[in-house]
């Protein structure tokens, strides 16, 4: 169970991921495949339900073709 401020951070991360995914014109499914992750996991991250790890942040950033730090710009 995360605290309200932690939930906010996870939701902000998820919103940034979603925005970058849409900018790259990728579906959740396509992004998940590129990052070799499960689609339901990507959906959970975007909804702010997952305390994502640095390795998965790097996977998603590589799949999106952006520096990993960009995914943390709003947290």
């Amino acid at each position: 169970m995360s605290t309200p401020s932690e939930t906010k951070i996870l939701k902000q991360f998820g919103a940034t991921l979603r925005a970058e995914r849409l900018k790259a014109e990728l579906s959740q499914e396509a992004l998940a495949e590129l990052a070799d992750l499960d689609r339901t996991y990507v959906g959970g991250v975007e909804r702010g339900e997952r305390n994502i790890s640095v390795l998965n942040i790097v996977r998603l950033a590589k799949a999106l073709g952006i520096p990993p730090g960009n995914l943390l710009k709003n947290v």
Copy 2:
């Protein structure tokens, strides 16, 4: 067990964290206390032994007074 490339990412993250900690002139103990984390956990992250989560990245960045994305600049 992480792959060689994943180990490399974790070690790069750890090295960046260590450099930022030294720049802030903090011991591992002082940083851990500021971030409300265990000192042995901070040591493990710096050695590249921990697949740190986004919430802990944010905690450490706040304790160091830097944007969280800065901790990912070398991964």
